[in-house]
């Protein structure tokens, strides 16, 4: 389903251009898409730093802090994963 939608979009966008040009633009778009990893990295690093701070302040609660950190980091990871998915779709063109 995604493949047909994206192929129609790319075909519409690249009308009048060669296939070489459109595939090159798709690779360029894939590279631009994974810039979103910047924000993901900052967010995950911030969460991990805060978790380390919390463990230092309260070493008894390490188990609960670990569980909470894993879940929040997985949630923060989602945007980066979407960017990766977009990049993979563009490369698959």
């Amino acid at each position: 389903m995604f493949e047909t939608i994206f192929s129609s979009i790319v075909r519409f966008a690249a009308e009048g251009h060669t296939a070489f040009f459109s595939s090159g633009m798709a690779y360029l778009g894939a590279g631009i898409a994974v810039i979103a990893g910047l924000g993901t990295g900052i967010g995950q690093g911030y969460a991990a730093g805060k978790a380390a701070e919390a463990v230092g302040r309260q070493p008894d609660a390490q188990g609960k802090i670990l569980v909470t950190t894993l879940v929040t980091q997985a949630v923060a990871e989602t945007t980066g994963l979407y960017a990766l998915l977009v990049a993979l779709i563009l490369i698959g063109k």
Partner: protein, 224 residues
């Protein structure tokens, strides 16, 4: 793994799903039959003891995040999810394709999460309360809040399924790229690192995260 394609008919993932499901079904049916015959006055030993300890630890862990009556209803579902995901995400250690690297298998998890949240709402909160959640607290703001809340109903399970899919897919893509470049001698050494990181570490973390997010979503849907 060499016949990898992003959206083509990828029967290898579905095949490994069927293998895992049948293996786990036979395993747990045999274990259940053995536990039924167990004498309650004696201490169980060996393998059965490990299984009982595992289930006990799981129960103790989940009841921290859920009330008792909800846990009684959703506990078996959550345990099935964690066991299947933990097996499925590490299955490429024995040479099968990880099932969650197929979009269809991952989106079936989306459908399951959607329906389990709906069942939780129907069972534990009233229609009036659900309407209040959908329309928001202030009635004048409801034309703005209703579309946002309706999108939120769908996007939560969708993001959960897609998160599993892309995590496993990235591991498969990177492993395929490395194995294509290297010959088999170097591939063995690279494979140790790759599978330790992408299958054992990320796979088990994703299984655990899916369990935790399911638990929290069920609790939130029934509390609020």
């Amino acid at each position: 793994m060499s016949d990898f394609s992003l959206f083509g008919p990828m029967s290898s993932a579905v095949r490994s799903t069927i293998i895992i499901v049948s293996f786990l079904a036979i395993f747990f049916i045999v274990i259940g039959q053995k536990i039924k015959k167990l004498d309650p006055k004696q201490t169980p030993k060996g393998f059965l003891f490990a299984i009982i300890m595992m289930v006990d630890g799981f129960n103790a862990f989940i009841t921290q995040y859920m009330e008792k009556d909800k846990f009684k209803f959703f506990g078996p579902y959550l345990f099935t999810i964690i066991v299947f995901l933990a097996t499925a995400n590490t299955i490429s250690l024995v040479g099968l394709t990880p099932p969650l690297s197929n979009l269809a298998v991952a989106l079936s998890f989306t459908v399951m999460t959607f329906f389990i949240i709906k069942i939780a709402e129907f069972k534990f909160i009233t229609v009036k309360k659900k309407m209040k959640n959908l329309f928001g607290e202030v009635l004048i703001m409801s034309p703005i809040m209703l579309p946002i809340n309706l999108i939120g109903e769908v996007s939560t399970p969708f993001s959960m399924g897609l998160r599993l899919f892309v995590n496993l897919l990235s591991g498969v893509v990177i492993a395929t790229m490395v194995y294509t470049v290297l010959n088999w001698v170097l591939g063995i050494f690279a494979g140790i690192m790759l599978h330790a990181i992408f299958d054992l570490f990320f796979g088990l973390i994703q299984a655990f995260v899916f369990l935790m997010l399911s638990t929290i979503n069920i609790s939130m849907a029934t509390d609020a």
